[in-house]
């Protein structure tokens, strides 16, 4: 089966390509990336700051119920072209993965469908692989958390 979201991480390269087609008009796909209230809902992070213009900065944070910071990422926009392109830097706090460059391009397919391409460039191959692993560990942690919730209910 063809996956809706495709990830291409070639061996020995310091980049990742993510592509996805949506049953959404281009304008709505872009809005989901441009409006803080919408980003918060699908990314699950709080948007503390988002100055959507050239050299504007952004600041996202994710906390647990107790208010502990689980994840904090910041960076600067270099391009913010509505319905076309967002170029920004991305740095995760307290994670040894350096600064990454993210080039996100939006594309109209039909009046009702659109596509996003995210090209991320890392400082090194090792750091890219670290991010992929981190994603995996996060997935496992999330599964564990869910399991814990279920177990707690059984208590």
């Amino acid at each position: 089966m063809e996956h809706k979201t495709k990830v291409n991480a070639e061996e020995g390269k310091q980049e990742i390509l993510i592509t996805r087609e949506f049953d959404l008009p281009l304008e709505l796909l872009f809005r989901a990336h441009a409006e803080p209230e919408l980003i918060e809902q699908w990314m699950g992070t709080k948007v503390l700051k988002m100055d959507s213009k050239k050299h504007g900065s952004w600041d996202f944070e994710k906390t647990d119920e107790k208010g502990n910071i689980l994840f904090k990422a910041t960076g600067v926009f270099h391009e913010f072209i509505p319905n076309r392109k967002i170029t920004r830097t991305f740095e995760m706090e307290n994670a040894p993965i350096g600064v990454q460059l993210e080039i996100t391009e939006f594309e109209k397919l039909t009046d009702e469908t659109s596509k996003v391409n995210i090209h991320t460039i890392y400082e090194s191959v090792a750091q890219r692989d670290q991010v992929v692993k981190f994603g995996m560990e996060k997935g496992i942690n999330m599964a564990h958390d869910r399991m814990q919730e279920v177990l707690n209910k059984l208590k």
């Binding site: 996956h3 809706k4 979201t5 061996e11 020995g12 959404l24 709505l28 699908w42 191959v125 994603g135």
Partner: protein
């Protein structure tokens, strides 16, 4: 030093990737592999050692010669390695899609 080797670390090196390509086509002895490279024989041996440690290559004794085989199963693990990362993005984008459908006219 005998650190546990990381598969990604193993394939990050261009010589090791070239070795894998060679051996994937046909099982070979260390000498035959080394003859494809300008690199000194001990360097090739070191690369082979790393590839064996991370199980991308298997050794098999055939008479007096040791043949190196490509372990396709291990290579598949690399694909599976990326899968949780892909799923994470897929789930995010599924949320985005259902969220934004509410805004459709």
């Amino acid at each position: 030093m005998n650190l546990r080797r990381d598969v990604f670390q193993a394939i990050a090196d261009p010589t090791r990737r070239a070795i894998l390509l060679l051996v994937a086509a046909q099982s070979m002895t260390a000498g035959a592999i080394a003859s494809n490279f300008e690199t000194a024989r001990p360097t090739v041996s070191k690369h082979l050692q790393i590839l064996i440690e991370c199980e991308l290559l298997n050794q098999e004794q055939n008479g007096r010669e040791i043949y190196y085989h490509f372990n396709a199963k291990k290579m598949k693990e690399i694909d599976e390695f990326i899968e949780p990362f892909r799923k994470m993005w897929d789930e995010r984008f599924n949320k985005l899609e259902s969220l934004m459908k509410k805004y459709k006219k």
